[in-house]
Amino acid sequence: MNGHLPLYAQVINLLAAMLLLLSFAMLAQRRILSLINLFMAQGMVLFASTVVVAAATGQHHLYWSALLTLVLKVMLLPWILHRLIRRLNVKWDVETLINIPTTMMIGLVLVIFSFNLALPISALAGTITRSTLGVALAAVMLAFLMMITRSKAVPQVIGFLAMENGLFFAATSATYGMPMVVELGIALDVLVGMVILGVFFFQIREQFDSLDIRHLEQLKED
């Protein structure tokens, strides 16, 4: 079937590859500002792929969810994050708990695992985007890995948001997007969550003079 894919499908596959690449870039990135920019780039890719899927399939509600992605993930969330780190005056580089080459190796294993897991489902899907479901799952897993390996609060949150990006991509590629009410609800949750976290960062900083979550390891079973 290779070589005979319609143009739309090729573009979508290209975008999916970019999404995966960006996930790996985030995993390897040490600087916090670059991390936010990468997150924004991921939002752009997501927006582009949603528009392409919408154009290819004539699913009009996808244009709306593309718009939602553009506003929320390319504009609003990066803006909030930039503002937050400026207000909090965080300049430090991101520290990782496991060194980066090891993290990348684990990431590779996760990608293989995700493709295997997605294989039987992709086979059932009738959508033109079915081959990208594995990528979506891999993006979720890589974001999850990023949350585990980072020791500071802001990168963890970016990991959390990247995970949501992966899920959104999964919804677009497996089913041409969730019903609109649900997507609106999810977007609302993400936004409210971000605002609450912003408040929360200030509380943590006020209390510990730092956003290093290694301070948050006092509650243990003894």
Binding site: V140, P179, V182, I186, D189, I196, F200
Partner: protein, 482 residues
């Protein structure tokens, strides 16, 4: 109509209290809104008793025997908790632990939390169910960190991250569910309506559904507090204000488990195998055993009862996993009595901790001499939760154990040992707290013990006599769960 009120009152309450929550009378306003919600829920319940299951608003809302009693229970415990929180939060305020601004946040979020839970219970849309479960996490994060101490911030952060990741798994499960449904029902929001899914569950693709169920179980299971996804639960219970611990334990865990059960019904229908049941039994048993053995190591009284909640959620999950009319009936009964008893215990524990100025078990001594009502409340509550007859917990645990002997004999000794260990641990710790030598001072306000005794009275009643319509709902819901 009644239904709109059930959701409208807490939502309005949240908005009104966002503006007025720092007033002197805010606690009364809070109770008033909770009372109105309870009355609306009672009207809705009457309507369901008279006319049977209701499908409202373009089928977006579905009220059947499985959720109507949970709606009533949620509204009821929400109301009694608001009664308890009035003197409790006032004492915290007088001790200088909370400013008026934080009280405003507390009151507003308390109502919003009720709203999200009631929405999660009544919605027919699996996507909205996810959205409201996530919203329930968000509203409680700031409640857990209300005191802004290092420990409470840590607990809230853990709660947010763990439940956030967990619930993201549930979203992936929901996407897979939609994916399977779309093939049968076509696109659009009809394909996520539970009633539609239930009607065609036999035709849903089994491979997709089994994967979806695993993701949904892990996702919502994180919020139920199933081992090994339970880490947030004891911390959040110990560090948040006590009324929040009471509603987390008594209500939120139930709502999350309700979501799991709804998913199980669909997975069962599609799979024609016992995979969902086996998974739930496994998670349930693991939770019971691990929690029981952690109980004896606890030094903080609220952590102690947090672990006890994990144990009981494990028992209920096991019962639903086992399935069959008797086990599911017992699971539903256990859900009801656990939430009543556990919130009553948290009320008593809250006042005890205020009297002694500490949550450490070693610092709480001789409650019976300091304040007989608090002492007896805690003692009776502990005995009830440990399953002493004639409390309702005894009835449900007895049913679950006897069914397990017949259906899954291998699990019975494990359950019995865990229950025994839990009994020894909790009783051994509560006994000196109630009957030891007193160490504490008087409270500036009268403790609110009425809710405790109302709850315990209801638990006693459910142990001896279950109202016929309630039994009928349990039976119908049990038939649905299978």
């Amino acid at each position: 109509m009644e239904f709109l009120l059930v959701l409208g009152f807490p939502l309005a309450g949240g908005l009104v209290l966002a503006a007025t929550g720092h007033w002197k009378r805010a606690a009364e306003i809070n109770s008033a809104f909770s009372l109105l919600t309870l009355l609306a829920a009672a009207l809705l319940t009457l309507r369901v008793i008279e006319h049977g299951p209701q499908l409202l608003f373009d089928e977006e809302i579905f009220i059947d025997p499985l959720n109507v009693f949970l709606v009533a229970l949620t509204a009821f415990v929400g109301f009694t908790t608001s009664l308890f929180s009035r003197p409790y939060m006032r004492i915290e305020h007088d001790h200088g632990r909370l400013s008026s601004r934080r009280l405003r946040l507390y009151h507003s979020m308390f109502q919003m939390f009720s709203f999200t839970m009631l929405l999660a219970l009544t919605t027919n849309n699996m996507g909205i169910l996810w959205v409201s479960m996530e919203a329930a996490t968000l509203t409680t994060v700031l409640l857990v960190s209300l005191y802004r101490t290092p420990a409470s911030l840590e607990a809230a952060w853990k709660y947010f991250i763990l439940c956030g990741v967990g619930i993201a798994q549930a979203l992936f499960g929901t996407i897979l569910l939609y994916f399977a449904a779309e093939k049968v029902l076509g696109g659009g929001s009809g394909a996520l309506l539970w009633t539609h899914l239930d009607a065609v569950k036999g035709q849903l693709e089994p491979t997709v559904l089994s994967l979806a169920f695993v993701f949904l179980l892990v996702g919502y299971g994180t919020k139920v507090g199933l081992v090994p996804l339970h880490n947030w639960l004891p911390d959040a219970h110990a560090e948040g204000p006590t009324p929040v611990s009471a509603v987390l334990s008594g209500l939120l865990l139930n709502v999350a488990l309700y979501a799991v059960v709804r998913c199980k019904v669909l997975a069962d229908g599609a799979l024609h195998s016992n995979l969902p049941g086996m998974l739930m039994m496994g998670f349930g048993l693991l939770s019971v055993v691990v929690a029981a053995f952690f109980l004896s190591r606890q030094k903080d009284v609220k952590r102690l009862f947090g672990y006890s909640s994990i144990e009981h959620m494990g028992i209920i999950t096991f019962a639903f996993g086992m399935g069959g009319p008797v086990a599911s009936f017992a699971g539903l009964l256990h859900m009801t009595v656990h939430s009543l008893t556990k919130s009553a215990i948290f009320f008593a524990v809250g006042h005890a901790a205020q009297k002694c100025g500490s949550q450490a078990i070693d610092d709480i001594r001789g409650l019976i001499k300091l304040s007989p009502t608090v002492g007896w409340g805690l003692m009776l509550g502990a005995l009830a939760i440990l399953g002493m007859p004639p409390s309702g917990v005894f009835a449900s645990e007895f049913l679950i154990l006897t069914t397990a002997m017949k259906e899954q004999p291998w699990a019975t000794p494990i359950l019995l040992i865990a229950l025994g260990v839990a009994f020894a641990a909790i009783f051994g710790k509560v006994q000196p707290m109630v009957f030891g030598e007193p160490t504490a001072k008087r409270l500036p306000h009268k403790p609110a013990m009425l809710p405790v005794f109302i709850h315990l009275g209801l638990v006693l009643m459910l142990g001896l006599w279950i109202p016929p319509y309630l039994a009928e709902w349990y039976r119908q819901a049990a038939k649905l769960i299978g």
